[in-house]
Symmetry: C2
Subunit: 343 residues, 2 copies
Amino acid sequence: MMFRTIGQKHFMDTAAQKNPAKLPVVGVTLGDVNGIGPEVVARAAAEADARCRVLVIGDGFVVRRALDLLKLEREVRSVDKVADARFEPGVVNVLETKTLQPSDLQPGKTTAAAGRATVLAFDAGAALAKSDEIDALVFGPVHSDSIKASGLRKRVVTPEFEQAHLFLVSGTLRIAHLTDHMPLRKVIDEAVKEERIHALVKLVDAQLRRWGVARPRIGVAGLNPHCMYEEDTNEIKPAVERAAREGVDVTGPVSPDSVFRQCIEGRYDVVIALYHDQGHIAIKTWGFSGNSALYLGAPALLATVAHGSAFDIAWSGKADSAMMSQAIRTVGSLAAGTGFPSS
Amino acid sequence: MMFRTIGQKHFMDTAAQKNPAKLPVVGVTLGDVNGIGPEVVARAAAEADARCRVLVIGDGFVVRRALDLLKLEREVRSVDKVADARFEPGVVNVLETKTLQPSDLQPGKTTAAAGRATVLAFDAGAALAKSDEIDALVFGPVHSDSIKASGLRKRVVTPEFEQAHLFLVSGTLRIAHLTDHMPLRKVIDEAVKEERIHALVKLVDAQLRRWGVARPRIGVAGLNPHCMYEEDTNEIKPAVERAAREGVDVTGPVSPDSVFRQCIEGRYDVVIALYHDQGHIAIKTWGFSGNSALYLGAPALLATVAHGSAFDIAWSGKADSAMMSQAIRTVGSLAAGTGFPSS
């Protein structure tokens, strides 16, 4: 994992700072078209609130079918570039990727065609986000078998995002991860180091300020039970003290078994988790139904939802679009520099 | 930590196996009398259901005052030995420890007298539980400063319980811990070993059967993200496979970020957590309000509640006795060999 620090190119500015008058445009890909992605995206786009503009990225005919399935009477406006989109009530704008034929729609099946469409839409959206043509990208739920079948690559997310710090948001529980899929022993040996923790505290502080959190309150989890041991004292504590001296509102190390509950109850704006399961056990066991994942220190504001493509109920109209709507609201609000949405 | 295995003396039998006709007697200490312990114990004892018999262990005049504070019209029957207790409606039996004077009641203050009373009541209750004069002990919330001031020892729980496996219960989430306050590095180096994990799986299986869970379904958490690394494959997997071959209904290693949520939703009766925070983050972040802690592999059935002595609201009548009631119900049901209570 690379540890990006503030001052590097990947520090994100927000749309609001560039042009406060402009409403952010959030690109949204459909994910695997044979899963529930098209349904949840179509509904979320159709019912998006006025605080951000949704631009679907994919095949317009798929969006049309999903809207019909859901009995949502909206016009689908197909465009070839972002500038052609017109954000009006009753209209769903789709940036056409022209990747699929109607015969490629095979609900519940993993296919190379769907995988290829998934990857190409992601790449198109990520490129637009990196070049500031859109302000953020939310990508719909993918299926890794389809992606592998496409032969393009193994995972939809590219290394520049995978190397960023995973940032999970679930209601008032927000968690920035120091490490991701790293063995626990290696986390202790290599990652729980004063420099790395200090850099992440500073990155979180700076990024949340840009996103509109006036004075981010950061809690840093300890490594050991009740922060009683060596690494808590020799690595985490000095990192926190140094950042605090530099003006960051940061507390820690906090007992790992308390810090997440304290965040849920409003004591912090964000918790820094030292390893994958420290953060993931907290957020997945809590079970609040609105998780989305962002990438902190990545070259663009990107989010995805916690649920999968749910092939078993695809194209039945049963899928719940709440998480997708919440992810769009979240990145829209952050891109506008107005902080995390309260609802 | 000692790893007790089945076949050793600390394997617990239940009251039901010794005498199915007898209702279990649950001893309950008051904890620190200047905290909320007397209130929550008095209410829980006064309102206990008919499935177990509650015997308070402490000073009867303290219980009398707490019942008066709560406007609960009950007779306090002071006894000097368990056999003298008569379990009738409207009566709260108190096994007198004769440790305090009325002037020792100083709500919100830590005192040596209260600490001494806390320790002596615990020791009396633990001795009765070990000698089968009572079937289980629940101890009220203590204050470590009072205990230290007493000069008797530092903590109320004695080593024979501290060396057992902590077993947390919170609704449908039940967690047996392989280790407790051990540094995370040492957990990986010394505790996550096939032999130790296998022994705990067998102990959990045998103990839960005795407690009345017909065929315990056990989930074992992995160590690393998504169980992708060395220890998951070389230590945890063979331990689980060996226990499964021996007839235990055990699954694992299961991704640590999924196994606790799966338990909440009913897939397992209990999860084995490898380290303190793996289990504690899950149970404390979930936030279900009914936690109690048991000691697996200890010489008696003992439980305590997750909340503290809350000196700030002591003797105001505001304290919530739900956790104390739940702890009493839980050990009563286990001692009767009827499994975990459903409510």
